[in-house]
Assembly symmetry: C2
Homo-oligomer: 211 residues x 2
């Protein structure tokens, strides 16, 4: 009865629940912890406890109302205020990210694309024009930026981080395969293909079905 803070592990599962709820048949109105658990291959009690932290109310014998769930998970994640995102580095990866259609569906706003390569500057992706990172300062000031995404080659990444930090961006998602240094108060997450492949390789060579 003291659901003060939401545990990190629960937070990390919330986006997954949203994903899962999206994939349910449109005419389905309620869902049980067991159904969600089966879809995600996790334990049903974990699902219920996660929802308990969010103060979601289910009906015994029935399940949870899907619409309420989506809205409460969204609220817990802070999606009432839209996230403003900029992407630095417009190689194939940056392009892939810029084309990703999933931003808008969760109320995220893609606000800027940057690259130092003169051949890329001026290209348009959707409604955005690729510009030089020098424009970041101005854009952060005028538009506000919640999250900076780093899709540059490895050697350029730390410089971009330093710039973003200097401009006051406190949340950074790094796709470059390097260990980056950020000051306290900045949240850095990384998406790392090589890491994932090596972990898969480990399970492979140990023939376990582990995650």
């Amino acid at each position: 009865m003291a659901r003060l803070a939401i545990p990190h592990t629960t937070v990390s599962r919330l986006p997954l629940y949203l994903r899962c709820l999206d994939q349910l048949p449109v005419d389905q109105e309620t869902v049980s912890s067991g159904e969600i658990a089966a879809a995600l291959s996790i334990n049903a009690a974990k699902v219920r406890k996660d929802f308990w932290y969010l103060e979601c109310e289910g009906r015994r014998g029935v399940g949870y109302d899907i619409r309420s769930l989506v809205s409460q998970i969204g609220a817990a994640l802070g999606l009432n205020v839209p996230l403003t995102i900029v992407i630095v580095g417009m190689g194939n990866l940056g392009m892939a990210l810029a084309h990703y259609q999933g931003f808008a569906s969760r109320g995220m706003i893609l606000a800027g694309l940057y690259d130092t390569d003169a051949r890329k500057i001026g290209e348009t992706v959707g409604e955005l024009v690729v510009r030089h990172p020098d424009c970041l300062a101005e854009d952060v000031r005028s538009e506000g930026v919640s999250i900076g995404v780093i899709a540059t080659p490895a050697p350029a990444a730390q410089g971009v981080v330093d710039l973003l930090v200097k401009l006051g961006v406190t949340s950074i998602l790094n796709f470059a395969p390097v260990v980056l240094d950020v000051p306290a108060g900045t949240t850095l997450r990384r998406v790392d293909v090589a890491t994932e492949l090596l972990i898969l390789g480990y399970h492979q060579s140990n023939q376990d079905g582990g995650a």
Copy 2:
């Protein structure tokens, strides 16, 4: 004194250690748990215990021999046998992955690129030619495939998984923004941009410096 199995959490940090060791000055021969911990913003005792599971031997007062560490971490990850990887889906993301230079450095072999789009089939990336997924069956049989990477649009992903599973591929890395279903015995990991952004957004809206 009973280091039977390596904990999952330790395994997930091993690639990070490799990354970190790569970034040390080339003339440095030993490294302390404290240095690594500082670079990765984790606790030094954790680093030592991770190495302990791998039966790495450090020298008191000095640290760990970097070359030995790299080789023992690699061995623990099973890198003595190279990983053979195929990528299905040659949009921007698939292209970005295919161009990634980090495969070879860890002894991974990129063995095949597939797409159903006739306009993409026949394109070359490095030494590989993009082909139709129908070629997968033959390739898996002749070359062996350790890991299948899914870089298709969301609606196509489950079909690709089913195909890979049918062909006997037991490790899959999914980039498509969907929850996928795999049979027991298959290891599925996912890389999910939307998830990462939402988690960052949570921390942002709660102004904590959490990871």
